[in-house]
């Protein structure tokens, strides 16, 4: 173990396909966005990232291979990457110390990934399935994991769960509600979006520098993607600007929400983004993993976005 940084758990999910649509800010007649196409087919995304910042604008979603038929492959202008898995880490706290060690380990052990997305409870990596065991070993060796942790990979055929799901439709996430329930929307203002671009070779050093900052500082959101030429594009949302590390810093706000069945969320992200588009509220980034949705907005846009979304979601 490198250092005693506590995590609460690790979860590995396999048999996914990654679907990516680029240039999403380009105006094209009759173009369907990926999330709209998936919503109309009731296909769930376990993880999603939408980016409108920098040179590459895109939306990319992680979808169970079994749900992704040929009709979706050819239904729009997207690329598909098969044999994908997700590895989620549940940090004990969202401290920079945790993120720094994570990035340091990834760099030192040359673990490439496609995307990284965070929620209130987890940090999820989308990566090739071939590397999943090496990845989970790196995590369990590198972090302080509870001795009695749940298995990294859950069994799919849990008879009890299947029985309950069949008997009680309420426990299934088949949303038919006019207004989808949430546990409430949280708007955090006064944040700073630190944007970095560097080669994968510098990831370990970046992680070390992050760890050398105040280790008790927390991050509100982090996302990243890696290009085929091994460039990392990383977006770190913090309370204080990390000027000594950041190449660019933008004032930003975070709107986050979470619902009882958001883990199955075909339609939830789509309704969110369509609502914000209808109200002409630009989104810097949108991320979801686990059961949380994170929307990153320009400074001053959060209140209007929250008001707009209460027309679509039930906000207690």
């Amino acid at each position: 173990m490198t250092d005693s940084v506590k995590i609460n758990g690790i979860r590995l999910n396999k048999k996914f396909i990654q679907v990516t649509q680029d240039d999403i800010l380009l105006k094209m007649p009759d173009r369907a966005f990926l999330y709209e196409a998936l919503e109309s087919r009731k296909i769930n995304m376990v993880c999603m990232i939408l980016n409108t910042m920098g040179n590459r604008t895109f939306v990319s979603g992680t979808i169970a291979s079994k749900n992704f038929g040929q009709n979706v492959h050819t239904a729009g202008d997207w690329q598909c990457n098969p044999d994908i898995c997700t590895v989620s880490v549940y940090p004990h706290h969202h401290r920079l110390e945790f993120l720094g060690l994570m990035l340091q380990l990834l760099g030192e052990q040359k673990h490439f990934f496609h995307y990284m997305v965070s929620s209130n409870s987890m940090l999820t990596f989308v990566q090739d399935e071939d590397h999943s065991l090496r990845f989970t070993k790196m995590l369990s060796d590198g972090f302080d994991l509870p001795r009695s942790h749940a298995p990294f990979e859950q069994e799919e055929n849990d008879e009890q769960a299947l029985f309950v799901k069949k008997r009680y439709p309420e426990t299934r996430a088949t949303y038919v509600e006019e207004k989808i329930k949430t546990y409430g929307m949280v708007l955090t203002t006064g944040l700073n979006l630190n944007v970095y671009e560097f080669s994968f070779d510098h990831l370990s050093g970046f992680g070390q520098r992050l760890r050398s900052l105040n280790t008790h500082d927390c991050f509100s959101n982090v996302s990243a993607y890696m290009t085929p030429d091994q460039q990392i594009h990383l977006f770190l949302l913090t309370g204080k600007p990390q000027i000594d590390l950041g190449q660019k810093v933008y004032p930003a706000e975070l709107l986050s929400f979470h619902g009882p069945h958001f883990g199955d969320r075909h339609g939830i992200m789509s309704r969110t983004l369509q609502c914000l588009q209808n109200h002409e509220i630009p989104v810097l980034q949108a991320c979801c993993t686990g059961a949380s949705i994170h929307i990153l907005l320009q400074k001053g846009r959060g209140t209007k976005a929250k008001q707009a979304l209460t027309t679509v979601f039930e906000n207690p």
């Binding site: 979860r11 409870s121 029985f163 546990y183 619902g259 009882p260 686990g290 207690p316």
Partner: protein, 128 residues
């Protein structure tokens, strides 16, 4: 460190575990987390929490089974169990027989989707 009681939060939805834990920590409770029934039982035996907030439908071991194990063990039976259930309509008392014949001896239950403030009121009522 807080002197308040230790509460174990158990759900296979980590975002819900985190949301509940953050509320409890803001109220200065000590919090432990588990993501399925087996892990919960390990932590219950190891840490002896004062109260367990327990989801019903979970992998490996469901909340009814965990609750029964707690309440049938002499050294654990005083631990307070609050069930989180999406099928609360079928719950008539806190010592109830479920529609499918499962009986639990939970001390209380909260219907899902949970009202976090209501849940905190219930926790406070047991802890204070």
């Amino acid at each position: 460190m807080s002197n308040k009681q230790l509460i174990l939060v158990v759900d296979d939805d980590p975002d819900l575990v985190e949301a509940v834990s953050m509320k409890l920590e803001a109220l200065e409770y000590r919090v432990s987390r588990a993501y399925d029934g087996e892990e919960a039982m390990e932590k219950i035996k190891e840490e002896k929490p004062f109260l367990v907030i327990l989801d019903v439908m979970m992998p490996r071991k469901n909340g009814w089974e965990v609750c029964d194990e707690i309440k049938k063990a002499d050294h654990l039976k005083d631990i307070i169990v609050v069930l989180l259930t999406a099928v609360a309509d079928s719950v008539r008392t806190t010592s109830y027989t479920h529609h499918d014949g499962k009986t639990t001896l939970a001390d209380d239950y909260v219907p899902k989707p949970i009202d976090l403030d209501k849940l905190m009121e219930i926790i406070d009522s047991y802890c204070n």
